[in-house]
Symmetry: C2
Subunit: 356 residues, 2 copies
């Protein structure tokens, strides 16, 4: 049976990336050695790392004001590392509380300084993104989650402010053209659009560093990682390699313009299907719908279980909603083919017909 | 040409592990999905994680007083995480400064509390391990590096003390039977004897936790990781899988007794060869020689370059000494076959004959 992988992350990756990654484990680039067995200070790995960094800068269209780091950990590590590096004990950071992950992020920041939640959509179960909220001019930074994987919302334009923007882009990075330059710091766990779990992309506008007095543990210090060229310690070699391959794949496919076109097409097909079938309901505000994760429900809760059972039977993987949200969640990252979305929509139609 | 991989880490892994890891990237366990594409909360990954934890406990012969965690990062992360979790601001931890890594470890600890260096072998370029030094009875813990990868020394017996022992075992874990129970906390980056770079093993005697007042960032909090069963956030799935395979391989080969037998045989052959050939000199104290990393020099420094060139020509990978130490370093981790050590010793003999 053909499987359709709608996992929310770790999630589907391009087949070409998987094939090359498997080959590298046996014999990296005809060296006679496995990628897992080579030193991280060899030219072999230096080239992989440089290629990955260059691809990030190319895709984001960033100049040398920014540095690209590949660090251990996932976005959760950044919930701590961002305020540890940027937020002085007596200063205030502004946070947007628009979902499960943004909520966790501001709670961690409280360990380091003052936090002001300037946007909060928990009043409607995080089913929309706040707009037009005031941002204190003296905030050290404004943190937001560009795509809420759990709730299925996405920022389609970023806030206009003089306050430096810090964006957790874990679940929509490289999915469409975006004004990355608007942000002073961007971070993302790799395991959605950028590769395998186990590495964190951190892109930093250098001018925001060096402004606090707190002593920072070496391994958490962005500045020290920049000085060491992401090689302060042994990096997660394999995960960096898979990111490099995935970034190269994005460029080969036509870059962010092409990713954006595909993701728009896929998500429009799915949302149009949901909207057309009265059996289903997508309660997220239409203008904030995520192109990456569509969250929806069956109007008759009794039908949820049979619907999910049918999905399973037909090889539709990973479509059960997040444990605190319930319902259905269909994740449509870059590597998910249109064919899978079409198959899912066909299944929705068939189910709706049966239960009309 | 047959390559002999003496890399210090990332380093040689068992061929069977590499084969299975490559297969899993294409099609994990006949699921039709890549290991990189499956969710970390699936039964598939839960079984991998449980298998890895069980193997650690089995090999270490530990009971339920201990918890096993697989965390993001490498040993350098633990230099911070250990004192952050264990050392109160006004308390004192005892550290052994017996090499490059132990030195880094105690410097990080100073950010969290008081540090007393109770053993220091820097007076002789870290070429021996201190013995019989006093340990303050009120120290929160005593930290030591069980094997010094850079300098080629190893603790062959652990300190006898009532103070909880914290051991960085990154470069000799699972290389021989050891009294793990003597330690209250053991950590190790995986990329030597335990798998691929990108995951940290942390084994904790639970009774040492919960004794400090400092608020700990969630992602750094051992207790929270224990409560979440190493699944607080997306773990480095692939690196955990490779660790699981490597641990299983160790058990299948005969466990730590067999690893210890092999490593003793390999290192004895190499050290005997060094000692027998006047061209070479191993300045490390004989009783502290590492079975994992043999560091030695050519008595005539002018011969170092031609010797390393010959090694390269003959496919001997990774034998140049660490950048601050120089000379030659031969790493002989579990997966290195006797055949490679024999080939290296043959090369030493041939070189010595030519330059006699």
């Amino acid at each position: 049976m053909k499987l359709h992988n709608f996992n929310s992350g770790p999630s589907i990756l391009p087949q070409a990336v998987l094939t090359q990654a498997a080959e590298a484990i046996i014999n990296y680039n005809q060296t006679g050695l496995s990628l897992l067995e080579i030193g991280h200070r060899t030219n072999w790995f230096q080239e992989i790392l440089q290629d990955a960094k260059d691809s990030v800068k190319q895709l984001m269209e960033l100049d040398d004001a920014y540095e690209v780091l590949f660090l251990h950990g996932g976005a959760t590590t950044q919930f701590m590392q961002v305020p540890m590096n940027l937020l002085d004990t007596k200063a205030t950071a502004a946070y947007c509380d628009n979902g499960v992950w943004g909520n966790k992020a501001f709670k961690e920041a409280k360990l380091f300084g003052n936090v002001q939640v300037v946007a909060d959509s928990s009043d409607r179960q995080y089913r929309y993104i706040n707009k037009g909220f005031p941002i204190p001019e003296d905030a050290t930074y404004l943190h937001f989650t560009s795509n809420n994987t759990v709730e299925g919302t996405q920022w389609h334009t970023y806030p206009d402010t003089h306050v430096p923007l810090v964006a957790d882009m874990s679940s929509d990075i490289f999915s469409r053209p975006t004004d990355f330059k608007k942000c002073a710091l961007i971070y993302a766990g790799a395991q959605k659009n950028m590769g395998a779990a186990g590495v964190n992309l951190v892109v930093i506008k250098k001018e925001i560093l060096g402004k606090i007095n707190r002593p920072i543990p070496t391994i958490m210090n962005y500045q020290k990682h920049i000085e060491a060229g992401s090689l302060m310690n042994t990096p997660p070699v394999f995960a960096v390699y898979v990111s490099m391959l995935t970034l190269r794949w994005i460029i080969e496919q036509g870059g962010l313009a092409e990713m954006g076109r595909r993701n728009k097409t896929k998500s429009e097909l799915l949302y149009n299907t949901i909207d057309a079938l009265p059996l289903f309901d997508a309660p997220v505000a239409k203008e904030d719908r995520s192109q990456m994760n569509a969250v929806f429900f069956l109007n008759d809760p009794a039908l949820e279980e049979p619907f999910l059972a049918l999905c399973k039977q037909e090889g539709m993987i990973g479509v059960k909603g997040y444990r605190t949200v319930g319902g259905v969640r269909v994740s449509m990252y870059n590597a998910l083919p249109m064919e899978s979305v079409q198959a899912f929509c066909d299944l929705m139609h068939a189910f709706a017909q049966k239960h009309a």
